[in-house]
């Protein structure tokens, strides 16, 4: 990552490759270590939040536009799978692709409109859009069945290439393995867009739009790129979610999702791949720990309080998020030599 170059915590190339391979192997092996459906559901949730947060961070962390309406693309993506999918007779994969394409187009239109406003006003504008979208989902009864939800979304059926067999996906572990390719694709896209030349251009747009213009970067173009790609990814994820829980409700685009996204990204480390992944991991596991093994030791309302306290504490004591903490710790461990003397 371009910003990463500034930090002295980068692993050498072989180290990063080795780390990536072992993490992929771990992700593949993880469900084999447990037979508990609860644990596997927790893994699916974790993967889901990783995809969700990475797609959000493309916009918030790299294009520097904190959109509070990100879950709208998730919810509408889920509705695309539930409403359009069966009518068009689409399969699981083509459903996801359709949701991705439609959400990217929706984001393009929304972006052209919303990127005319900046900073806090942009955040408030997208918040308004999210509220409106949820109102529509709740009240357009003939289309979405409102709070009654659309039920009975088909479970995925995959035809295995070169054979006649069709695999009916129903078990959590199967869903887990279906979600992994989506995560890997998301990671590849995220890293491709945020490193090297594109990463530099995104940093420019985020840090100083005026200066970005002066070096030939069009801020609007890069913001639209981040928003359309982010929306496409999360649209596909919404479609996956619809096929997983088989029910689509207006709550799929609720602002509670926005809150969690903000917490994951800002506590983890905004604009940092490592930070976002750590944040998603923690905030997928934490609610289950707070539930203390399913006995609901802490009520959901109190859970929100715990989240709030964590968010405030992180913002006050380590504005760079957990990623920054990790950097500082590794730097200290390596006892990196003092930075080169600067000449005036």
């Amino acid at each position: 990552m371009s910003q990463g170059a500034a930090r002295s915590t980068r692993l050498p190339r072989w180290g990063r490759v080795a780390l990536a391979i072992s993490l992929v192997l771990l992700a593949l092996a993880l469900p084999r270590l447990t037979s508990s459906g609860y644990a596997i559901n927790a893994m699916i949730t974790t993967v889901r939040w990783m995809i969700f947060a990475l797609s959000f961070d493309l916009v918030a962390g790299h294009a520097g536009a904190v959109s509070l309406g990100h879950p709208v693309f998730f919810g509408v993506g889920a509705y695309v799978a539930a409403i359009l999918g069966p009518r068009l007779g689409l399969t699981f994969i083509s459903d996801m692709l359709l949701a991705a394409v439609l959400m990217a187009l929706l984001a393009l239109l929304a972006g052209i409109a919303f990127f005319r406003i900046r900073g806090v006003t942009f955040a408030i504008g997208t918040l308004g859009a999210a509220i409106i979208a949820q109102l529509i989902a709740n009240n357009a009864f003939t289309i979405t069945r409102g709070p009654m939800c659309i039920q009975g979304v088909a479970r995925p059926e995959l035809t295995i290439p070169f054979t006649e067999t069709t695999l009916r996906v129903a078990e959590p572990i199967q869903y887990y393995y279906l979600s992994l390719p989506l995560l890997f694709i998301t990671i590849i896209i995220y890293l491709a867009l945020t490193s090297s030349r594109l990463g530099r251009a995104f940093t420019a747009v985020r840090e100083d739009e005026v200066r970005a213009f002066a070096v030939g970067v069009s801020p609007l173009r890069y913001k639209l790129l981040a928003l359309t790609v982010g929306a496409g990814i999360v649209g596909a994820l919404g479609s996956f979610q619809a096929h997983y829980v088989t029910v689509v409700c207006p709550s799929e685009m609720s602002l509670a999702l926005t809150t969690t996204l903000l917490i994951i990204v800002f506590v983890g480390g905004v604009g940092s791949f490592r930070g976002v992944m750590i944040g998603a991991l923690i905030f997928s596991i934490l609610p289950r720990l707070l539930e203390a093994g399913g006995t609901q030791a802490i009520s959901p309302a109190l859970q929100q309080v715990v989240y709030g306290v964590i968010l405030v504490a992180v913002m006050v004591f380590m504005p760079g998020g957990l990623d920054d903490l990790v950097s500082r710790v590794t730097r200290r461990l390596r006892k990196a030599g003092p930075r080169e003397e600067q000449q005036p």
């Binding site: 530099r200 002066a214 070096v215 030939g216």
Partner: protein, 270 residues
């Protein structure tokens, strides 16, 4: 002061044309809430020329800069660069046509390293396919290597080689100034527009920058410089344009400007 007086004092015929006109500004007008910031200004920078733009604070120099580089849209008048009209074009487009600029209040990207700041200033000029960039093709890798080489050459030139990998927000003011200056050069632009390059910079650094500007000028680069430091202006300029209250009140060689009554009046009020 009436327009007639200004016109009488500024005989455009006195201006020797070196090469063909590179940047042509005609009748440029820009107002802010009714206050005229740039008042029908005409000016030319010829190919290979070093022109300075001077005037008291608030005389419209930076506004003119911003109108030329697309950061402001003039209400009237035309700007053309290499015989192509660029009035009201987007600033990123104008930058890519070969006009680079610096800012009065020094702008570098604080979160990028010194090297990344430089490469970013040239990468947009090289290719423009987002897909190629995402896939990091062989062409992109070659361009990155070339840009790095060029950046290192410039860092050597402006004395920043030792802080190559330091994030720009860790630089002191003078270093940022030199970095922004180097960023304005790396894309090999036709016209380099510097907004107060010497402001807030130590005398030694000013001398260094001055020498480098003159060296580039000798190589045929064209400059338009806004500067308050008269020592620098008189030393480097071939031609000086003076603005006061948005109007061009004089134009000529350094010595002619020094002797000009109107210019003295504008600066010292007597």
């Amino acid at each position: 002061m009436s327009d007639d007086v200004a016109a009488a004092i500024v005989p455009p015929a006195n201006v020797p044309a070196q090469g063909s006109p590179l940047l042509v500004v005609r009748g440029l007008l820009k107002r802010f809430n009714g206050v005229v910031a740039v008042d029908h200004v005409d000016m030319v920078v010829n190919q290979g020329e070093l022109v300075s733009l001077i005037g008291p604070n608030g005389s419209g120099k930076t506004t003119l800069f911003n109108c030329v580089t697309g950061f402001l849209t003039p209400e009237d008048g035309r700007v053309s660069f290499r015989d192509e009209e660029i009035t009201g074009a987007r600033p990123d487009r104008i930058a890519l046509k070969g006009i680079s600029r610096t800012f009065q209040n020094v702008r570098v990207f604080p979160g990028l390293t010194v090297l990344d700041n430089l490469i970013l200033s040239v990468q947009q000029h090289q290719e423009d396919s987002i897909l190629k960039r995402a896939l990091r093709t062989a062409q992109i890798r070659r361009l990155e290597a070339e840009s790095t080489e060029r950046a290192e050459f410039l860092l050597e030139k402006v004395g920043l080689a030792r802080v190559r990998d330091v994030p720009a927000h860790d630089l002191v003011y003078g270093q940022r100034k030199m970095l922004e200056f180097a960023c304005a050069l790396i894309s090999d632009p036709e016209l380099i527009m510097l907004d107060e390059p010497a402001a807030g910079v130590s005398t030694a650094l000013v001398d260094h920058m001055k020498r480098y500007i003159l060296e580039l000028h000798k190589q045929g680069k064209s400059f338009l410089v806004v500067e308050h430091n008269m020592g620098v202006v008189m030393d480097i300029s071939e031609r000086i344009v003076v603005l006061d209250y948005g109007k061009k009140i004089a134009e000529g060689k350094p010595r002619e400007i020094q002797e000009n009554e109107l210019v003295r009046e504008a600066y010292f009020g007597s």
